[in-house]
Symmetry: D3
Subunit: 190 residues, 6 copies
C-alpha cells in the first residue's frame, strides 16, 4: 500500500499564507492538536478558503432547531452517499464527539436507515439525502414529512443547506483526492 499525498494540488507552506488564513489555521491547530488537511488544501486558493469557511461557519455554528450533532450527522450521511472519504472520516470524528456516541458515525455513513436513530433523526436524514441525491424532486410532501417531528421551515433550510454545502465540499475533496488526517480515525472512539 502507498500513502496518497494530502491533495492532488499544491499545498502551501503556512509561512506563505495570508495572515488571516494562517491565523485561522493556527487557531484550529491549537484547538484540535493538528491541522485538518482541508484547511491546507483549500489554502491554495485564499479567496475560496475564506468563502468556504465563512459559509461553513454560517451553517454549522448557527443557533436553531438542529443541534451540533444533528448537523454533523447530516454531513456524514450525505458524504457517505457522495463517497467522500475525507468528509466521512473527518466529520465522522466530529459526530462521535458531538453525539457522545462512538458508534453512530460508522452506522450513518454506511446506511442511516439501519442506524441507532430516533424518528426525528430519521426524518431529518431522509430529507437531507433527498436534497443530496435528487433535489429537483423535493416538494411540498417532503416539507410536510418534517413538520410532525418539530422541524420548522427554517430547520428545513438548515438541513438542505448543509446537505448542499457538503455536496460541494464532497465534490471538491474527491477531485483533489483530499486525504483525511490519520488523527481523525480514532477521535471520539474512546
Amino acid at each position: 500500500m502507498t500513502d496518497h499525498p494530502i491533495s492532488r494540488f499544491p499545498v502551501p507552506a503556512l509561512a506563505d499564507l495570508p495572515a488571516d488564513i494562517r491565523a485561522r489555521i493556527l487557531a484550529v491547530q491549537e484547538k484540535s492538536g493538528f491541522i485538518p488537511n482541508v484547511f491546507l488544501a483549500l489554502a491554495h486558493r485564499p479567496d475560496e478558503f475564506r468563502a468556504f469557511f465563512a459559509y461553513h461557519d454560517a451553517l454549522m455554528e448557527k443557533q436553531g432547531g438542529l443541534s451540533k450533532a444533528d448537523r454533523e450527522m447530516i454531513v456524514v450521511a450525505t458524504s457517505g452517499a457522495n463517497h467522500c472519504q475525507y468528509c466521512v472520516v473527518a466529520h465522522g470524528a466530529i459526530l462521535r464527539i458531538r453525539a457522545k456516541n462512538p458508534l453512530i458515525a460508522d452506522q450513518v455513513a454506511v446506511n442511516y436507515r439501519k442506524a441507532d436513530l430516533d424518528g426525528r433523526q430519521r426524518a431529518m436524514l431522509d430529507f437531507a439525502m433527498k436534497v443530496a441525491l435528487e433535489a429537483h424532486t423535493v416538494g411540498d410532501a417532503d416539507f410536510a414529512a418534517l413538520a410532525p417531528h418539530g422541524f420548522s421551515a427554517e430547520d428545513a433550510w438548515d438541513i438542505a443547506a448543509i446537505a448542499a454545502f457538503f455536496g460541494m465540499s464532497n465534490r471538491l475533496a474527491n477531485v483533489a483526492s483530499l486525504r483525511p488526517n490519520d488523527e481523525f480515525y480514532m477521535l471520539g472512539r474512546g
Copy 2:
C-alpha cells in the same frame, strides 16, 4: 397556469436588509436593470448570502485559463444535469451575453454533446459533468484528457470548483423553488 412565488421561504424587503447586502443588491439592480431573485431569496440568511457571493465571485470573476463565457457554460451544462430551472434560465442569459451567441445556452442546457462547441469546450464540459454527476470516480485519466486542450491543473480546479459550487446552488434553488426573473428569458437573444 399559476405563477409560483420567488421562493418557498420568506423574501425580505430591501429596507430590512443589512447595509452591505442592500448595497450589493442595489448595485446589481443598477447594472442589470432588475434584481435577480437569487439575491432576494438568499438575503433571508445574511451570513449565507455574504459567503455565497464571496465564493461566487472568487470563482466567476477570477483571472485564468477559462474565459467568462467558459465559466458560464459550465454553469449552464451542470445546472441542466441537476434540473435547476433558476440557474439554467439565469446563467443561460449570462452565457448568451458573454459568448455573444444567442443559441448556445439552450443547446448546452439540453445536451452539450450536440452543441456548437469546439474540442476544447467539449473536454471542459466532459470534466465538469463528471464532477457534477460522479465526482467520486474522477481520477488521473480525467485530468489527462484536459491537458491536450491546454487546460492546466489550475484550470481543472476552476472547472471542478464551478461545477461543485453550482451543484450546491442548484440544490438550494430546487429546495426553495427559486423562480427565475421573467427578464432573464429574453436577455442576449437579440
Copy 3:
C-alpha cells in the same frame, strides 16, 4: 465554436424528393416561413418520413381532452428528460405559441415540477414522464392519479402515445445529431 450540420446523414435536395413529400415540406415552409430541419433529415428516408408524419399528425392534431398546448407541453417535458436538443428547441417554440406563454417552455424543459403549472398539468406530466422513463412500472395507480383531474382513459392513451412517439423521435434526433433551426429559438418569446 463550430456550427454542426443539419444531420449526420445525407440531406436530400428538395428537387430530388417524391412529389408528396416535397409538397408537404413546401406547405410547412409557406406556413412557418422556414423548413424545420426534421423534415429535411427524415426526407432521406421517404417511407419513414410518411409514416412518421402520419403518426405525428394522428397524435398532435387529434381532438380530445388535451389541448394543443397540453400536447406540446408533454413533448417538451419528455424531450428534456431524453436530452433531445432538437425537440426541446423546436417544440419549445411551438409550446410558447400554443400556450401564449413566453416562459413556459424553458421552465418545463428543465424541471416541470418547478414550472407555472396547475394541478391538472402537473398530473399530466407526471404520467408522461413515467411513460418516458419507466413505462414498465406504469399501472393502475398511475391511471387513478389522472382521473381526479378529468382525464379519461382516452386522454391517458393520448398522453402515453405522445410521450412514446417523441421518445422515438428524441432517439432518432440524438443519433442523427439533428440541428434545430436558428429560427426556433426566438419564436413565441415576443
Copy 4:
C-alpha cells in the same frame, strides 16, 4: 393466477373496423393462423394503427445490410431492456423463425452479451442498446465501432430506427398491459 385481458383499453370487434384495417388483420390471421394482439389493441385507434404499421413495415421489410433475423434480434434485445413482455414474446418467436435458431431469442432477451452471437451481431446490439438506453450520448465513436463489421451509415440508421421505433412500441405495450398471444410462446422452438 389470473389471465390478464388483451389490453387495458377497449378492443374493437373485427366487424366494426375500417375495411383497410380489417383486411390487414385478416391477411395476418391467414398467414399466421392467429391475430397477434397488437393488431387488435392498436385498431382501437385506426389512424395510429395505420401509421404504426406503415412505419413498422418501412423498417422491418426494407432491403439493406441487415437481414430479417438481424432486425428481429434488435427488437428482442431492446425490448428486453425496456421490460416489454409483449415484444419479447412475440418478436422472440419471429426471431427464432427468422434465425432458424430455437435458443437465440431467450438468450438475447436476458443478456445479449452472453448469447451465441458473432462479433458483427454483438457490435450491432451494442449500438442498438445504446440508442435504446442513452441515445443522447451516441456519437462518432459509436459509428466508428460499427464500421469494421461492415455496417454502413445506412445500416446504422436502420439499427437506430428499429431500436427507437420499438422503444415507442415497448412503451405503448407496457402502458396498455398488452398481452402476448399464447401461440407465440411455442413458435419456432421445434
Copy 5:
C-alpha cells in the same frame, strides 16, 4: 452465430470428481435426463459446490408458506432483473413444471408486473425484487405489505433469502458466462 462453451473456467470430467459430488451429479442426471451445466461448472471448486447446493436445498426444498412454484417464481423474476441467462432459462423451465403453466416463466422474466399473477404473488415478487435491487432500503413498510397476503415473518425470510442466494448465483453465472443446457428451453412448454 457461435456456440459459447459451458463456462469460461475449466469444466472437470465426471471421473475426476470427488465421489460425493459425482454421486449428486449422477443422481440429477438420472432424474432429469441430463446434467444441468451449473453442476459441471461449480464442480471445478468442490468445496464451493458442496456449500452452494447445501444452501440451495435449504432454501428451495424447505417446507413453509411458499410453494415450490412460488420459490421458482422468485428465482426467475430476480434473475431477469440481474440479467442472468442461465438462471432465467434453467429456472424458467422448473417454474413452468412446478406451476404447471407453460407461459408464466417468460412473463415473469421480462416484467412480472404484467404477468398472470394474483395479488399474493405480486406482493411476494415486489418484496423479492426490492431485496434483489435495493436491499439497503428494505424496512418495516415492506414487511407490512406482505402480511395482508398471509405471508409470515418466516415467509419473508424465505423470500429474501432466495432472492439473495440467487443474486449470488446470478453474479457467478454471469462472470463464468455459464451456458444454459439446450434441454431447458423446451421443458414444461408442452
Copy 6:
C-alpha cells in the same frame, strides 16, 4: 437515539441450538472474545447457517493468489457499495487486523479509488465492484485487466465469488437489520 436489536428475526438461545452450531459459535467466542451477531442471527435457520459458513470458509480460508487481507478488502469495498452496515463494520475490523493497517477499512468502505492501495489492489477492487454492481456486463476485457497484475483465472474466480457471496450476505443483513457488535468498531485501530 435508540439501539436496534441484533436482528429483526428471532435470535435463538445458545442452549437451544444443535450441537454442531453451538460448538462453532463457542469456538468463535473463545477465539474472538465475543460472538459476532451474524452467527446468532443465522442460527435461527440451522441448515442455512451450516451452508453459509461452509461457503464462507471455502472462499475466505482458501489458499491462492489472494492474501487474507485481499479477501477482506473485497468484502469491505463491495459491502460499502451495497450499504451493508454489519459487513462494513465487522469485516472492516478484520481487514484492519489482517492488513495491519488501522486506516484502510474506513478508506475502502467509502471510496476505494481514493484509498492507500497499490495498482494490484486497485485492479482487484475494480473487478470486484463490477461483479457486485453490474456482473451482467463482465467480459473478456475485465479478465484482461487483471492479468498484468499477476492475477490468474483462479484468482479472478476468487474475487468474483467473494463479491457474489457477500452480495448475498449484504442483502440478508440489510433485510434482517443485522446489528454489528459494539466490539467490532474498535478492533484493529490500536
